[in-house]
């Protein structure tokens, strides 16, 4: 959805090649050289492993850097929430209901007089935990299946592809809603449901990459000198699959955050009194006629964080040069 304009980016995708090569020396020279044996790869950028000079290229993309810094700060603050002198996020103060922001309460107080700032930070914990867990689980399910489908081909591949088609026919939100609802409301169950929803996309991506790489000369060469399949997967294939997978994982983490917020907004995620950004919106919405301003903070947090994930995904795509790799 967002890859359409990367060709107009300020970061030149061609930086992936030539000019970074002197930096390679420390990194697996064997792999750098093997690319030169593939004439077809010359104009494309398979010649240099994507992670070489990656950090240098990523840092050059200022927007992605800002997004990454924001996310790191958010993660650190959320992890240390108990130790940075926040107020108790569940402490009610019924004499100060719906109070606007003040010196004592930076983002104001909600309908039970609880500190909104503390709740946003604790909510970040829940939201980030759910989205990272969902992506991690999805990868654990999908990567082996994708490798299996791509390598074995035949009926195994056909079956796996038809099953992922079938999962994708059910609208993502409906599937996540139904699975997490049946498992019972909790953050972990939301993450499991989202992992099931996202896994088919990852399976498809890995499979496509494997099929693309499988017939490459250097994989064939490895095979012909008797390299074991697992060695080929680890040394030759995973390196090629990794870049588009990382990009996809970053973007999916943003989707997961959004989906978690939607599901907890509908009452399926973390349960009261604990906060997540979605449940904060549900409560704020119930107060819409008394304290509509409460809607801005959790919603803004969701929007900014989703945007950060997407921008990081774009930055990773440029830095890893996945677009030119045909992903």
């Amino acid at each position: 959805m967002t890859d359409w304009d990367s060709r107009n980016r300020d970061v030149d995708p061609f930086l992936t090649s030539g000019d970074n090569r002197p930096l390679d020396s420390t990194l697996e020279i064997e792999r750098t050289t093997e690319g030169f044996w593939t004439p077809s790869a010359l104009p494309s950028h398979d010649t240099v492993p994507a992670h070489v000079g990656f950090w240098k290229r990523f840092r050059r993309n200022k927007v992605a850097m800002v997004a990454a810094i924001y996310l790191v700060v958010l993660i650190v603050v959320a992890l240390l929430a108990k130790h940075i002198g926040l107020q108790d996020p569940n402490l009610q103060n019924l004499t100060e209901i719906n109070h606007k922001p003040s010196g004592a309460h930076w983002l104001g107080q909600d309908d039970l007089g609880r500190d909104v700032f503390a709740r946003v930070i604790y909510g970040a914990r829940v939201s980030l935990e759910a989205s990272f867990l969902a992506v991690a689980l999805a990868l654990i399910i999908a990567v082996p299946l994708g490798l299996l489908a791509g390598f074995s081909g035949g009926w195994i591949d056909q079956t796996l592809m038809r099953v992922s088609d079938a999962f994708q026919v059910i609208p993502a939100l409906v599937l996540a809603l139904v699975i997490s609802g049946i498992l019972g409301p909790s953050t972990t169950n939301v993450a499991i449901a989202l992992a099931i929803v996202f896994a088919p996309g990852f399976v498809r991506l890995v499979r496509g990459q494997v099929i693309g790489v499988r017939e490459e000369t250097y994989v064939e060469a490895s095979r012909s000198i008797g390299a074991k399949p697992l060695f080929i997967i680890r040394k030759r294939v995973l390196h090629n699959v990794a870049s588009p997978l990382i990009v996809q994982a970053a973007v999916t983490a943003g989707f997961a955050l959004l989906a978690e917020a939607s599901l907890s907004f509908l009452g399926l995620g973390v349960q009261a009194p604990d906060a997540s950004w979605g449940t904060m919106l549900t409560r704020a919405f119930s107060q819409v006629y008394d304290a509509g301003w409460l809607l801005w903070i959790p919603g803004g947090a969701i929007a900014i964080t989703v945007l950060a994930f997407n921008l990081i995904g774009d930055g990773l795509r440029d830095a890893l040069g996945t677009e030119t790799r045909g992903a």
Partner: protein, 315 residues
């Protein structure tokens, strides 16, 4: 063309078969003793637990339960809700029109807004108008649609009394009120569709506009609106059609949240209520019907695609 359509329809049968296994397999996710959990946990009366056990045939094997369910589903019978005595199909049937009105209107909104924006920015990439569209659509994609709904309600219904915040008025009762009540749901759902269509059209159009035959049409002195309309848009329409197909699943899924926020008794709130009450037959029936709806709409898009692009038919 006819063989193409028949082949596509034939391909749907195994797909829907796998979907049916997934949908019925949801019962395996019910924690603990399924009959007990579905009856409402520890507070349930033994009678009710027994009734649910019998109604769903829970003491039989999974395969036997599935085959019974599938046999009924082929006759469009998804059993009865555990909470009302009505059949799931009749309950869903009453609710589908509202959902289709929301999703359909959102799609119209998406096309009406997305296509002009896509054309404006696709004709001249990197112009000021293009930059504005790119930034605007990026923001529209990052903003959660349900939050957008809340903010719209806050500003247009609560602070200013311009539009109603809840409820549905049938078209037959008052077309004007019908429109007023549906406008916010349409915008809420349609913004993302509009942004996606605009981006896709921009990309496709920018590609086409830089191609040789467009340069030729320009150089022979064809007026700009003809260059864009006759040659540019025609060639850029295929990727847009694909996006429209993909958006339909999103719109049907998105109605769950929109119906919840605006208090519409459509298919989305039906699924939500069924999930909240652990009403398994209702969950399975509605998810299956939603999947069938998505598949059929995608079939229609595929056929339209083949109609515009004969190359597809041969593959």
């Amino acid at each position: 063309m006819l063989t193409f359509i028949l082949r596509r329809i034939a391909a749907l049968i195994p797909l829907l078969f796998i979907v049916s296994i997934i949908v019925f397999g949801l019962i395996l996710l019910v924690p603990g003793d399924a009959a007990l959990t579905l009856a409402g946990g520890e507070d349930a009366t033994p009678d009710r637990i027994q009734m649910i056990r019998e109604q769903l045939g829970l003491d039989r094997s999974f395969v036997s339960q599935y085959l019974t369910w599938l046999g009924n589903a082929l006759h469009f019978d998804f059993g009865r809700s555990l909470y009302s005595n009505q059949t799931v199909v009749s309950e869903i049937w009453q609710r589908i029109p509202i959902t289709l009105q929301i999703a359909g209107g959102a799609m119209v909104f998406g096309l009406l807004v997305g296509i002009p924006l896509g054309i404006i920015s696709g004709i001249r990439p990197r112009s000021v108008a293009d930059r504005a569209v790119v930034i605007g659509t990026s923001a529209a994609i990052a903003i959660p649609s349900f939050w957008l709904a809340l903010i719209l309600i806050l500003n247009l219904a609560v602070y200013r009394n311009i539009l109603p915040s809840r409820g549905f008025v049938p078209f037959g009762e008052s077309p004007y009120e019908w429109f007023r009540h549906l406008l916010l749901p349409w915008i809420t759902l349609g913004v993302l569709t509009a942004a996606t269509i605009a981006r896709q059209l921009r990309g496709a159009l920018a590609d086409v506009m830089s191609s040789d035959h467009i340069r030729t049409s320009k150089s022979v002195g064809l007026p700009p609106h003809k260059v864009v309309g006759k040659h540019g848009l025609k060639n850029a329409s295929a990727p847009v059609l694909t996006v429209v197909g993909l958006q339909i699943a999103y719109l049907i899924g998105g109605t769950v949240i929109v119906e919840f926020i605006f208090g519409f008794a459509g298919l989305g709130t039906y699924v939500l209520t069924a999930v909240q009450r652990n009403d398994l037959p209702a969950i399975q029936g509605s998810v299956m019907l939603i999947a069938i709806m998505t598949v059929l709409v995608n079939l229609a898009v595929d056929i339209a695609y083949a109609f515009f692009n004969p190359k597809v038919r041969i593959e």
